[in-house]
Symmetry: C2
Subunit: 217 residues, 2 copies
């Protein structure tokens, strides 16, 4: 529901896909023939990848409601909603729409530098004020290992996710390093879990998924 | 006017400052006794740095109008407006408010990876559709020089700002590398131009400022 910057179709290599209508509503885009992962994004509705969605809040709210109510999601195990940064229309609308159903909670992603933590503290306050359970905090872009000399530099400082989790009294789910190999996979439709089974990113991601799914059962 | 994530007070080391009222309106916060730089941010109006602004579009629009109309800005050479990412309420409101006065234009900042360029292409479309002149594109976080072995790695790929500028037919103002020393200065109120006169960031920033100010005269 990042209507102004929908990156999910690009990340999953689905940019040329279209959403179709059926009697039950919109048919989401599937990443494979096995139909394991269904995706809906405003990116599929734009004719051109440089098209801008120049909408004020009420129009964004109406579209988000359609994504939740008018998409033929079929039977789902998990519904993952990716939001833009902030605590405004998108977040308020999702919170209100999901009030009537049981949600597991929110995963908050931050980068480690103090400036990002400033903003993410506000996201934590949003969740607490609106009664959304926080599943935990993930620290992304933490530390870079030089491919030449293997020296690890904490480019954007480090430990911010951990200290924020302590402050907010929520679990710290994991710390993801910067790995250019993972970035290169973006847009190819390939997953680092399959392509780079031994890298730290894969290890941390799998640990995070295990923690969350066990907690949800 | 990034109302949900106001970072400017932190970046300038002004977090403990308050905005006061005078007969002519709000008095902005000055960074020094010489009153060279006046700052206004919703950050000054929040009691606590973790407070969240949970507002839908119309309330954000009203606050932005106040920032432009009710602040006693005095005589200004330049008014710089920092926006959040996106093409929604904040951007539409600023564009409408500034229609009646002459603006020099917009500076678009991107990071080099394809995913960021996806979003920034939409910002370019926004400016073109709404008739805002684009002064140019700055590529930030481009390349990281290992402090141990001096090997430069293009962590998030590179050249994206340049190719986007070509595509959009606007000037490419400069390419800023990742420098942990510059990041450390954030929040101290110190400037890399003064503290690190020989670093690439300083050199590129000064070139960008020269290009923009010469163009504006």
């Amino acid at each position: 529901i990042d209507l102004c910057g929908p990156s999910v179709p690009f990340l999953l290599g689905l940019e040329d896909q279209d959403v179709h209508q059926c009697d039950e509503g919109w048919v989401p885009v599937y990443t494979s023939a096995e139909k394991k992962l269904a995706v809906m994004s405003i990116g599929f509705l734009l004719k051109n990848r440089s098209d801008a969605v120049i909408w004020r809040g009420p129009k964004k709210t109406a579209m988000i409601k359609q994504f939740l109510e008018d998409v033929n999601w079929d039977e789902l195990d998990y519904l993952i909603i990716d939001t833009p940064p902030g605590t405004s229309d998108e977040h308020i609308t999702v919170m209100e729409c999901l009030k009537t159903v049981n949600t597991d909670g929110a995963i908050i992603v931050t980068t480690p530098q103090e400036m990002a933590l400033e903003d993410v503290r506000k996201e934590v306050t949003f969740c607490k004020k609106t009664g959304i359970n926080i599943l935990g905090i993930v620290e992304n872009m933490s530390g870079f290992v030089c491919p030449n000399c293997s020296e690890c530099t904490n480019i954007f400082s480090s430990g911010g996710g951990h200290s924020l989790a302590e402050l907010a009294k929520v679990p710290h789910l994991g710390t993801l390093p910067i790995d250019p190999r993972v970035g290169e996979l973006a847009g190819t439709g390939k997953s680092c879990v399959k392509e780079l089974p031994d890298c730290t990113t894969t290890e941390v991601l799998q640990k995070i998924v295990r923690t969350i799914t066990v907690g949800a059962e």
